[in-house]
C-alpha cells in the first residue's frame, strides 16, 4: 500500500499510459460531438474550437511573452474576412484560404508590433485597444484612404458564404466527402475539419513554446535583461511572437468564417477581444490546455447566461453576459491565479506527482512582466507599490 501522492517517473510506461488516456479523452470529445450531440450543437462546438484557436494565438503573446493584447479580435476578424471573401467572391477552396488569412494576420501583427514592442511597458495593450476599436470601423468604411472596404466586406450588413447551386462552380459547399461514415451531416464535417486544424495548431504551438524560440520568449518574459544577455534579442523576439500569435488567431478566424457562415463587423469588436483575454486567464495562462477551456467558455458562457434564470437579473443576453465573464475573471485572479488548468494541476499533485517536476506553470499574475533591476522581492514587504520609474531604473 503506497501513500499518496503517487510518484510517477516521466517517460515511464505508466506516464505513457496516462498520456494515452489524455489522447483518448480528446478523441472521446471528438466522437461525442460528432456522434452524440445534436446537429445544431455540433456547429456550436465547432465555433468553440475556433475560439480556442484564437485564444491559443493570444496565449503566445500574453502567456509566453508577457504582453497583453486587447486587439486579437481584429486578427480574428482579419482571418474571418479573408476566408469569407476568398470563398464567397473568388470561389477559393476553404483550406487554401487559411494560409492567406494567417499571412495577412502575421503582416498586420508585425506592422502593429514594431512600434509597440520596441518600448517597454503597456504600450502594446494601448495600441491593440485602438486596433480592436478601429477594426469594425475600418470594415464598415467606404473611404479608408480611398479604399472602399465596405464593398469588399459587405459593410455593416456583414457577409455570408454563398451556398449556391451545386452544379455551379461559385457556390460553396462543405459537404462530407464520399468516404465519410453514413449519417454525417455538413455540421459534423465542418466540426471534423476545424477540429483537425485546431489539433495541428495546438501541437505546433506546444512544440513552439518548448523550442529554442519558446524558451527564449519565456526567459525574456521572466527576466528581460537576463535573457538579452544570454542572446535573446528582445525586440525581434517580441515582434516575432506577436506576429506569430496574430497568425494563429487569424487562422482561427478563417475557421470561424466556415463554422458560422455569417460574419459582421461587430462580431470582432472590443467585447470579443476582452472575451479572449478573459477566456485565456480563466482557462490558464501559459498552458496549452488553457485556451481550449477558454474557447469552450467563449461559446457556451453566453449560452448559459441566456438559458439560466439568474437571481436578481434574470436571463442575460448578448453583452449582458459580460457580467459573468468579469466576475469569474476577478474571482480567478484572486483565488486561482494561473487559471483552471493550474488549479487542476494543484489538485492532481495531491494524488499524482510526476518526476522530474516541470517548472511551476507561469502564472501571468505572478510573473514580473518587466524585468526589474531592483527586484520586487528585494523591496520591503510593507511596501507593495511599484513606482513607475523603478521598472526602468538604471537601464537607460
Amino acid at each position: 500500500m503506497r501513500t499518496l501522492p503517487l510518484v510517477i517517473e516521466r517517460k515511464s510506461t505508466v506516464h505513457r499510459v496516462l498520456q494515452l488516456v489524455g489522447v483518448l479523452a480528446a478523441l472521446g470529445f471528438y466522437l461525442y460531438v460528432v456522434g452524440i450531440v445534436e446537429n445544431f450543437s455540433a456547429i456550436r462546438w465547432a465555433v468553440a474550437v475556433t475560439l480556442a484557436v484564437a485564444i491559443l494565438g493570444l496565449n503566445i503573446v500574453t502567456g509566453y511573452s508577457g504582453q497583453i493584447s486587447i486587439g486579437h479580435s481584429a486578427f480574428f476578424g482579419i482571418g474571418a474576412y479573408t476566408t469569407m471573401i476568398l470563398i464567397a467572391d473568388h470561389g477559393w477552396p476553404f483550406l487554401l484560404t487559411l494560409p492567406v488569412a494567417g499571412a495577412l494576420g502575421f503582416v498586420v501583427g508585425a506592422v502593429i508590433g514594431v512600434p509597440a514592442l520596441r518600448i517597454r511597458g503597456l504600450y502594446l495593450s494601448l495600441i491593440t485597444l485602438g486596433l480592436a476599436l478601429a477594426f469594425p470601423a475600418i470594415v464598415k468604411s467606404d473611404n479608408f484612404f480611398g479604399i472602399n472596404f465596405a464593398s469588399l466586406t459587405g459593410g455593416s450588413n456583414g457577409k455570408v458564404i454563398s451556398s449556391g447551386d451545386v452544379t455551379t462552380k461559385r457556390g460553396f459547399h462543405w459537404s462530407p466527402p464520399t468516404w465519410a461514415p453514413d449519417g454525417w451531416t455538413t455540421n459534423d464535417w465542418v466540426f471534423t475539419t476545424i477540429f483537425v486544424i485546431a489539433l495541428v495548431l495546438f501541437l505546433l504551438t506546444s512544440n513552439l513554446v518548448r523550442s529554442r524560440v519558446g524558451r527564449g520568449l519565456v526567459a525574456m518574459r521572466d527576466n528581460e535583461i537576463g535573457a538579452a544577455v544570454s542572446g535573446v534579442y528582445p525586440a525581434q523576439y517580441k515582434v516575432l511572437a506577436f506576429a506569430t500569435s496574430a497568425f494563429v488567431t487569424a487562422i482561427g478566424g478563417g475557421c470561424f468564417a466556415l463554422a458560422s457562415t455569417t460574419i459582421g463587423p461587430d462580431t470582432f469588436g472590443l467585447q470579443r477581444s476582452i472575451e479572449f483575454i478573459a477566456g485565456l486567464v480563466i482557462g490558464g495562462v501559459a498552458t496549452i490546455l488553457g485556451p481550449a477551456i477558454g474557447g469552450g467558455l467563449g461559446e457556451w458562457l453566453p449560452y448559459w447566461a441566456y438559458e439560466v434564470d439568474w437571481p436578481l437579473v434574470g436571463k442575460l443576453e448578448g453583452p449582458q453576459s459580460g457580467i459573468l465573464y468579469g466576475l469569474i475573471l476577478v474571482v480567478i485572479i484572486f483565488f486561482m491565479p494561473g487559471g483552471i488548468v493550474y488549479g487542476l494541476r494543484q489538485l492532481r499533485s495531491k494524488f499524482i506527482v510526476f518526476v522530474p517536476r516541470l517548472p511551476v506553470p507561469q502564472d501571468i499574475s505572478a510573473t514580473p512582466a518587466v524585468a526589474r533591476t531592483t527586484g520586487a522581492a528585494d523591496r520591503p514587504s510593507s511596501e507593495s507599490i511599484s513606482p513607475p520609474d523603478d521598472a526602468t531604473a538604471g537601464v537607460q
Binding site: K238, L270, S365
Partner: protein
C-alpha cells in the same frame, strides 16, 4: 465659391475662413473632452504606473446614475453631477484599495487584467440594468439648444459661431486643471501625492501614507471621469452602455501624445487629438468621416515611433 486650390486629395473648401474656424472650434471642443479623459489616465498613471481600462465604463456608469437622479428623481443636473462625482471618488478609492492593491505585489499585467474584468462587469451591468438601447440623454449641464451660441462671423456663409456647450467644456477643463494644480502644488496632500509619484520608496521612508496616495489617484481619476461622462453625454447627445469605450481610447491617445505623467501634457494632447480627429477628414478627401478611431490609432503609432515619452512626459521609456 471657386476652388482655391486644385490639389488632388485635398478638400477645396477646407480653406474657407469660416469653415476653417468652425472646424478649429469643433476640434478644440472635442479635444477638451479628450483632455478630461487624459487627465484621469494621468492621475492614475503618475502614482501607480497602471492604465485603467475600466475608466470609461466607470464614467459611463456614473453618467447613468446622473440619469437616474435627474430624469427619474428630478434632481438638478449640477447637483446630481456633484453627488455622482463624490460617489465615484469613494468607489474609485475603494476599487484601488480592495481590488488593485492586493495585486501590486504580482506583476504589472495582473491589475490590467483586473481592470478588463471591471470593464466587463460595469459594461454588462449597465446593459442589464438600463438595457442595451440608447437612452434619452441626461439634462444638459450647459445650454444646448440650437440657438445657444455666440455668433462671431455672420456676414458670409457659412456662419461662424461658438456654442455655449463648447464654451462650457472649455470652462470645465480650465477650472479642473486650475483646481488640480492648486491642490497638487499648494496643499500638503498634493505635496504628498507628488512625492509618491516621484519616488514611492523615499516617500514611505519620510512617513507619507503611500497607499492612501494611490487611492487618492484613483479617486481623483474617478471623479474627473464622472464629470467627463456627463459632459460627453451632452456634447455627443448619446447615452448607452457603450458610449465611453471609444472616448477612453481618445483619452489614452491624448495621454500618449502629451506624456502619461503630465497634466499639462494631458490637456495639450487632448486638444491635439481633437484637432487631428476633426481636421483629417475635413482636409483630405480620402479619409472617411468614420475613420476618427483609425486616425487616433495612427497618432499613437507615430508618437510611439518618434517620441515615446510624449510631448511633456518625463523620459522613462527605454527601447529594447
Amino acid at each position: 465659391m471657386t476652388a482655391v486650390l486644385a490639389v488632388p486629395g485635398i478638400e477645396d473648401n477646407f480653406f474657407t475662413l469660416t469653415l476653417l474656424l468652425q472646424n478649429l472650434t469643433n476640434g478644440l471642443a472635442n479635444g477638451a473632452v479628450y483632455a478630461l479623459m487624459a487627465l484621469t489616465v494621468v492621475m492614475i498613471y503618475k502614482t501607480t504606473g497602471h492604465l485603467n481600462f475600466a475608466q470609461g465604463e466607470m464614467a459611463m456608469f456614473g453618467t447613468f446614475i446622473v440619469y437616474v437622479l435627474t430624469i427619474e428623481q428630478g434632481l438638478n443636473v449640477w447637483l446630481a453631477i456633484l453627488l455622482v462625482m463624490v460617489g465615484s471618488m469613494v468607489v474609485g478609492a475603494a476599487f484601488e484599495r480592495v481590488l488593485i492593491q492586493p495585486l501590486e505585489s504580482r506583476s504589472v499585467l495582473a491589475p490590467v487584467i483586473l481592470t478588463l474584468g471591471l470593464f466587463f462587469i460595469l459594461n454588462g451591468g449597465a446593459a442589464t440594468i438600463w438595457g442595451t438601447q440608447p437612452h434619452t440623454p441626461i439634462p444638459a449641464p450647459f445650454p444646448g439648444r440650437l440657438d445657444d451660441k455666440v455668433d462671431i462671423i455672420t456676414n458670409r456663409l457659412p456662419h461662424f459661431f461658438i456654442t455655449y456647450k463648447a464654451l462650457g467644456v472649455w470652462a470645465t477643463v480650465a477650472v479642473l486643471v486650475i483646481l488640480l494644480n492648486v491642490m497638487l502644488k499648494r496643499t500638503k496632500l498634493g505635496l504628498a501625492y507628488r512625492a509618491v509619484a516621484a519616488n514611492a520608496e523615499s516617500s514611505l521612508i519620510v512617513g507619507i501614507p503611500v497607499k492612501r496616495m494611490l487611492m487618492l489617484g484613483w479617486a481623483l481619476a474617478a471623479g474627473i471621469g464622472s464629470i467627463a461622462g456627463a459632459i460627453i453625454a451632452q456634447y455627443r447627445n448619446v447615452l448607452d452602455f457603450n458610449f465611453m469605450a471609444a472616448v477612453l481610447l481618445f483619452g489614452f491617445a491624448a495621454a500618449c501624445v502629451g506624456g502619461f505623467d503630465s497634466i499639462k501634457g494631458a490637456v495639450v494632447g487632448g486638444l491635439l487629438v481633437g484637432l487631428v480627429e476633426t481636421f483629417t477628414p475635413a482636409l483630405f478627401t480620402f479619409v472617411g468621416n468614420e475613420l476618427s478611431l483609425v486616425m487616433v490609432l495612427l497618432v499613437i503609432l507615430i508618437v510611439l515611433y518618434f517620441r515615446p515619452q510624449g510631448l511633456f512626459g518625463s523620459k522613462r521609456v527605454e527601447r529594447v
